[in-house]
């Protein structure tokens, strides 16, 4: 029903207090929208990717990028057409197709998107889900709210996993190895796969509800915790570092 987003490792990010990591994630997501230079934005995103790769490995880092690639392509392709202001780069007669401003906006949007994706992925890839829940509860979020958030974050990979399994099975059902499919056929063939994924996802809803209730979710009385965050002994340092990272990055990359 759910898929683990955790990638086992022993890098420094794994030893970082999850509460501070959660704060750093939120602050970095805000940072991407601050008035910073494009070069600064790109360098910070590259730094985040580098940190992610060093901690979770090249494969996991590449997988994250591939998962957002289709969305990124759509964004980069269509954003420039929506911006009409600024110096024209491509013009057909009197009709301005692409402007310099449009290109800059598309680039900034794409890097922000990559950055936010990597920051969120890194949190869940380097923190076990129970510690994410404990951290959210430390910030006074009720248990049900914390559970819903973590289930949502694991449900998306579950759907991605189903998509991959169903695609595999459809690939095995192709008739002829010599047949070359046109682009339109390939797109058309996506429909049954997506339908199957949707059916699998819908079917899993009552199962998830059943499982939670059979595991005692709903019982009155105080719920206890198997895990604890007490092993993280340098919380203050980690919180301080999280805030300082944001301040320093902003100071370096701000628009002067």
């Amino acid at each position: 029903m759910t898929t683990n987003t955790f990638v086992a490792g022993s890098g420094w990010l794994y030893r970082f207090d999850p509460r501070a990591k959660l704060l750093l994630m939120v602050l970095l997501c805000i940072w991407f929208f601050l008035p910073v230079t494009l070069l600064g934005l790109i360098l910070v995103v590259l730094l985040i990717i580098l940190v992610g790769t060093l901690n979770t490995g090249r494969k996991a880092s590449f997988k994250t990028f591939m998962s957002i690639l289709p969305m990124l392509c759509i964004m980069v392709l269509f954003t420039p057409f929506n911006v009409r202001d600024g110096k024209a780069i491509l013009q057909v007669g009197s009709f301005v197709v692409i402007t310099e401003e449009g290109l800059l906006q598309a680039t900034r949007l794409a890097w922000r998107f990559i950055g936010i994706t990597y920051v969120c992925t890194l949190l869940f890839a380097t923190t076990v889900m129970n510690e994410v829940i404990l951290s959210l509860r430390w910030y006074r979020l009720p248990y049900k709210g914390a559970l819903v958030i973590t289930l949502a974050f694991t449900y998306i990979p579950f759907i991605a996993e189903s998509f991959s399994q169903i695609s595999d099975s459809h690939r095995l059902r192709e008739f002829d190895e010599k047949q070359r499919k046109k682009l339109f056929d390939r797109v058309k063939d996506l429909l049954p796969t997506l339908t199957s994924v949707l059916v699998a996802a819908l079917r899993s809803i009552p199962n998830l509800a059943m499982s939670l209730e059979l595991r005692g979710f709903g019982l009155e009385g105080k719920r206890t915790n198997y895990h604890t965050l007490s092993a993280y002994r340098h919380s203050f340092t980690h919180f301080f570092l999280s805030c300082m990272i944001i301040v320093v990055l902003y100071y370096i990359a701000r628009v002067r």
């Binding site: 490792g9 019982l219 915790n225």
Partner: protein
């Protein structure tokens, strides 16, 4: 034990008993169910946690947490146990079911048998008064079947096992055996129950594989040479990297080969390589002596997943059978109709509402139409009666296809296999 052929309502009965049906699986229900003199219709499922634990036939549907350890701890947290007590119970359950090295693994990275062991570990940790086991022995290999048998014997709890096949492991295990027949639970004398059950499952009919005449006008051979397969569980460091070596494997047209090996030994990894879904690190797979790439393999070797629902997705049986042939540009209606007849399917039926054996038959029919020279059947028997499974194999094989059958059930393997392989210490060996 309650014995019943498939689709007689065992799982529905189990879900009614743990109060989730008709709550989440709609239907009409009359009468009442009492546990220890308490009518459960006035209770919610979570109130039964210390009374009854349900182990479902499909382990995947019961996973809520993201790792094995969290899965076992989740109900204990709900029960409000102290951390020390939870730790003791979790460690004990992990130890009993051999899951210590997999404790941070996610369900997605576990094999079918390992998932079943996680559910059994959860059941052991909760320590409820009543255990409800729906086909709990099915995905387990012989070693873990014996462990479960031992646990049931020693526990002193009330245990109800639902089964659709009588396994030799069941000998001397149960105080009472019942039969679900014509939607009624019936009690028979022990010596009369198993013969009656065999009749219901059609196991008394002749084995359809015996004396089968094969149409072998084209013979092929698939071989695997010095394959080295690697798989890493990304969610855990303790389980290390999994390796499987295949020095020599071959399958010929018309041949029926079985692969019987322990849970998590790499049966599915090998199958995925053989049919071109995954690549091996080293070695080659050849078809009639010619090395094949993964794309070529996927068109020559059909792989029937354990779960048919991953391979069927269209609104009707007719659409499903026609899907793979849509690019051929010529009508194959006659062929489709005769295939449906052969597999006893109705072309207008809706696959999602069909029974499990029918969905398995449809899955097999799809591949039959594709006319692959070889098929891998992944635990075909785990949810079918022997007779149904044997009938499906016989139909797939009648055009001379070579078949690799993966199973945990030696009884079944002995019924079908002409040659057998196993996996020991990361190496595929001919038995």
């Amino acid at each position: 034990m309650l014995l019943a052929p498939f689709n007689q309502g065992k799982t529905t009965l189990a879900k009614i008993m743990c109060r989730v049906c008709p709550k989440y699986f709609p239907g009409e229900m009359k009468g009442s169910v009492c546990f220890y003199e308490r009518d459960i219709s006035v209770l919610e499922p979570w109130q039964l946690i210390s009374v009854c634990t349900y182990v479902s036939q499909n382990p995947q549907e019961l996973f809520v947490a993201n790792s094995v350890e969290e899965e076992i701890a989740f109900p204990l947290e709900s029960m409000g146990l102290s951390r020390e007590e939870m730790h003791r119970r979790v460690q004990e359950a992990l130890r009993t079911w051999g899951l210590e090295a997999l404790k941070t693994s996610s369900a997605q990275e576990l094999s079918g048998g390992e998932r079943k062991r996680v559910l059994l570990a959860v059941m052991q940790a909760i320590d409820a008064r009543f255990w409800l086991l729906d086909e709990a022995f099915d995905d387990l290999d012989e070693h873990w079947r014996l462990i479960l048998k031992q646990l049931i014997k020693e526990t002193g709890k009330t245990v109800l096992v639902f089964a659709s096949r009588y396994l030799s492991t069941f000998d001397d295990l149960f105080d009472r055996m019942l039969l679900l027949e014509d939607k009624q639970v019936k009690s028979y004398e022990p010596e009369a129950l198993l013969p009656r059950f065999a009749v219901l499952c059609k196991d008394t009919l002749p084995n359809p594989l015996q004396a089968q005449v094969l149409d072998l006008h084209h013979t092929h051979r698939v071989t695997a040479d010095r394959l080295r397969i690697e798989r890493r569980r990304v969610s855990t460091l303790s389980a290390g990297t999994f390796h499987l070596n295949v020095d020599d494997f071959s399958l010929q047209s018309g041949q029926l080969v079985t692969l019987v090996a322990p849970n998590g030994s790499g049966k599915s990894s090998f199958s995925r390589c053989l049919c071109g879904l995954d690549d091996s690190l080293e070695g080659k797979i050849s078809f009639d002596g010619r090395p094949q790439d993964s794309k070529e393999l996927s068109k020559k070797i059909g792989y029937l997943f354990q779960n048919p629902d991953l391979q069927i997705f269209l609104p009707t049986v007719a659409d499903e059978l026609a899907w793979s042939m849509r690019h051929l540009g010529r009508s194959r209606q006659g062929e489709i109709a005769s295939c449906a007849k052969l597999f006893e399917l109705d072309l207008d039926d809706t696959p999602t509402t069909m029974s499990y054996p029918q969905r398995k038959a449809l899955q097999a029919a799809v591949y039959y139409l594709l006319d692959r020279p070889f098929y891998i059947l992944d635990e075909l028997d785990s949810a079918l009666t022997y007779h149904t499974a044997l009938s499906i194999i016989a139909r797939l094989r009648r055009n001379g296809a070579g078949i690799l059958l993966i199973t945990h059930d030696r009884q079944f393997a002995n019924k079908v296999g002409q040659q057998s392989y196993t996996i020991k210490e990361g190496r595929l060996l001919r038995v």
